[in-house]
Symmetry: C2
Subunit: 371 residues, 2 copies
C-alpha cells in the first residue's frame, strides 16, 4: 500500500475510533465496554508489545492548578513535526521559536527583579543573570545554566528564560552559557563551550560553591559536563539539577512510546527532535555518553535533583538517570508533576507548580552548596 494511501486509511480509522470511543467512555458499565475489553484482551493475549487503542484523554482537574491546566490542555505547538533540510530552514525555525520568549523576557525580568548582562567568558558568549539584590548567603555561590532546546533552539538571550526564573526564585547569581549550536557548530561545540565556562568559573569560585542546572537538552548537557569534568580531572560541582534531561538521543526509553502524542510540547521523537539529534551528533554515535549521558558512568557524581511530569516524553530519560545515579550510590531526588508534559514545570511563571518546582531546586542547591 503506498504511504499516502496507508496514512489516509490510518487517519480515517483513528478518527472513527476516537469518535466512537468518546461516547463509550461515558457508559463504562454498558455491554459495549465488556465487548471492547474482550477485544483489547485479545490484542494483548501474547507476551510482547502492548496494543493500545485510540483514546481521548481528559485534561486533569485534581492536583493541577488552573494555570497549569491551560498549559496541559494547549494544542501541539507549531513546528513540532518540522523536518528542516537546509541551514536556512533550521534558522527560520529557530528564529520563529525564539520570538515569543524574546518578547516576554524584558517584562519577566522586570517583574521578578532580575538583571541580565551579556559577557564573554573564555571566549564563550554567556549572560550573567542575577537578582537586583543578591542574598548574603549566595554572595560567593554561582550557578552554571545550560539552556534547553534540542541543541538548536534558544540562541542568545532566548536561552536565558530558565536562568531568570531560578535567579529570582532562588536568589542566585547565574551564568547562562550561550553555547554554539548546529547547523553551524555541531557536537562537541555545545559541550566544549559549557566545559570552558565551567573551567573559567573554577578560577574564582570553589567547585563546592558551584551548582549546574538546565532543562531538557540543558539537563543532558549538565550530565555530560560532569562526565567531562570527571574525565578531565576537574573538581565536580557541589550539586546538579538536570530537569527532564535529554539523556538518550536515540528513541530508547519507554515514555518515548507510552507518552507519544500525549506530550503536547515535544509530541514525538519522530518530530523535530530526532532530526535535531542527528544534526547535533553530526555522524557521531548517538549512544556516546557525551551525547546520551544515560550510557555514562555516574560513579562519584554530585547530588542531583531531577524533575519530570507524568505525560513527559522524557519521563524515562529522567527516571533512567535517577535509577542509575541511585545504583551508583549518588544522592538523587526525583520529582514528577501530575499531568505535565515536557518541561512544563516552568511553562507558566505564575503557576503554583512553577513556584513549587523552583522552591524544590533552590532548597536542594542551598542544602548542598558551601556558603
Amino acid at each position: 500500500m503506498p504511504d499516502a494511501v496507508r496514512a489516509r486509511a490510518i487517519a480515517l480509522s483513528l478518527m472513527l475510533a476516537t469518535a466512537l470511543a468518546a461516547p463509550l467512555a461515558a457508559q463504562e458499565a454498558a455491554s459495549g465496554w465488556n465487548e471492547f475489553a474482550l477485544i483489547q484482551s485479545g490484542a494483548n493475549s501474547r507476551p510482547g508489545p502492548r496494543q493500545l487503542p485510540a483514546r481521548s484523554i481528559p485534561v486533569p482537574q485534581a492536583g493541577v492548578s488552573p494555570g497549569q491546566q491551560a498549559v496541559i490542555a494547549a494544542p501541539y505547538p507549531p513546528g513540532w513535526n518540522a523536518a528542516p533540510r537546509t541551514v536556512a530552514e533550521w534558522q527560520d525555525l529557530v528564529v520563529r521559536n525564539a520570538a515569543p520568549t524574546l518578547a516576554a523576557l524584558p517584562g519577566l525580568r522586570e517583574q521578578l527583579g532580575v538583571t541580565s548582562e551579556p559577557v564573554t567568558i573564555a571566549g564563550v558568549k554567556a549572560f550573567v543573570v542575577q537578582p537586583r539584590v543578591l542574598p548574603a548567603v549566595n554572595r560567593d555561590r554561582v550557578l552554571l545554566h545550560l539552556h534547553g532546546g534540542g541543541y538548536v533552539f534558544g540562541p542568545g538571550e532566548a536561552g536565558t528564560r530558565e536562568a531568570v526564573l531560578l535567579a529570582a526564585h532562588g536568589g542566585f547569581k547565574v551564568v547562562s552559557v550561550d553555547y554554539r549550536m548546529p547547523p553551524e557548530a555541531p557536537y562537541p561545540a555545545a559541550l566544549d563551550d559549557s566545559v570552558a565556562v565551567y573551567r573559567d568559573l573554577l578560577k574564582t569560585t570553589s567547585a563546592r560553591r558551584i551548582g549546574v542546572f538546565g532543562t531538557s537538552t540543558g539537563g543532558g548537557l549538565t550530565l555530560a559536563l560532569v562526565l567531562r569534568a570527571k574525565a578531565e580531572g576537574l573538581p565536580l560541582p557541589a550539586a546538579i539539577a538536570p530537569g527532564t534531561p535529554w539523556s538518550d538521543l536515540t528513541e530508547t526509553g519507554d515514555s518515548y512510546f507510552v507518552n507519544e502524542f500525549a506530550d503536547n510540547l515535544l509530541v514525538s521523537w519522530k518530530g523535530w527532535l530526532g532530526h535535531a539529534a542527528a544534526l547535533y551528533a553530526n555522524g557521531h554515535d548517538l549512544r556516546d555518553p557525551y551525547l546520551s549521558p544515560v550510557y555514562g558512568d555516574f560513579t562519584g557524581f554530585p547530588p542531583a535533583i531531577l524533575t519530570s511530569g507524568t505525560r513527559d516524553l522524557f519521563l524515562s530519560n529522567t527516571v533512567r538517570v535517577h535509577r542509575k545515579l541511585r545504583q551508583a550510590g549518588v544522592e538523587a531526588d526525583l520529582h514528577v508533576f501530575e499531568g505535565q508534559s515536557h518541561a512544563q514545570y516552568y511553562a507558566d511563571p505564575s503557576a503554583p507548580e512553577t513556584i513549587e518546582y523552583h522552591a524544590e531546586v533552590a532548597r536542594f542547591l542551598d542544602a548542598h552548596l558551601a556558603r
Copy 2:
C-alpha cells in the same frame, strides 16, 4: 447506535489502525508519517482533551533487566475486567487470584530464610513474618505491613508475600495484618483492623521504632492509618513506605487515562478495580480521606518513600501524594522504575529491580527508625 454494534465498530477500527500503524512506524521519514502527523495535529488543534491514536508499544530493552522485561511483556491477567455481581462470584475470583501466590510462598520463604507465624493481635488476625536470624540493629524495631489487592484480594497467608520479601531484604520483623475485607466486611473494617493492630504494637514498641508499609491498597491503607492516628492522637510511626498507593478510589488522576491499557496488571479502572472501590466503600463517599487519602491533610506526616513505574496506572496516585507531602513540608522520596506497570517492582523476586526496590525501602526505614 446500540452498544454492541458500536463496540464492534470500535474494535474493527482499532484493529485496522493498529495493523496499519505497525509497518508505518518502521519508516518514520516516509511521507506517510508526515501525513499522519498532520492529521494528529488536526485532532489536537484546540485546547482540551488529548486525542491519542492506536499504537503498538515495544517492550523496553534498555534500563530493564531480562526478568523484568518478561514481567512487562506479559499479557493482561485473567480477570482484569471481571465485574462480579454476587458474593459467590467475588469469592471465586479471590480464591483463583490467591492460588499461585499460596503455591509459591513456602518455597519463597524457604529460599529467603524467612518464617511466618499466624497470630491474633487485638482480636485481629495477622502474621508475624521475620528472618530466621534477626539482625541486632532491628531487634527492637517492627514493621507493620498492610497488603494490597483492592481491598478484596489477598486473604490470609496470600497477603504476606510482600512481608516475606521485606523481612528478607531488610532483615526486619514484620507484622502483616490479615484485615477483614468485603463483601463480608466493607469499609471501615480494613482500616479499623489496621489501626487496632498499630495501637497494640504501641503498647510494647515505641512509635519511633515502628515503620508502616504496603503496596497499592496497602499503600492507601498506610496513608489512611496515619490520618487516623493523627485524628486519634496516637504517636505517628517513624517512617512509612506506601508503594504505588491507591490514594484516589475515584477515576481521578492523569495516569488512570494515559496509562490505561499500557499497564498490564491493572489495565483499567473500569475493570475489577472500580467495582472493588464501590464494594469496599459500601455507599461511603469515595473521596473521604480515609478511603482516598490523597484528599487528606498530610501536615505532620512521617518521612515517606514512594515507588511507582512509568506505565503504572497508579503513577498519578503516587506522584499526587508525593507532591502533597512535599507541599506539607514532609520529607518524601520518590522512585519510579522504567517501563513497569502497577506494583511490578516486586513481581519477580530475583529481578535486580526487586532487589533494588527493597534496598531503597530498607535503607530509608533504617535511616528513620530509632534503634
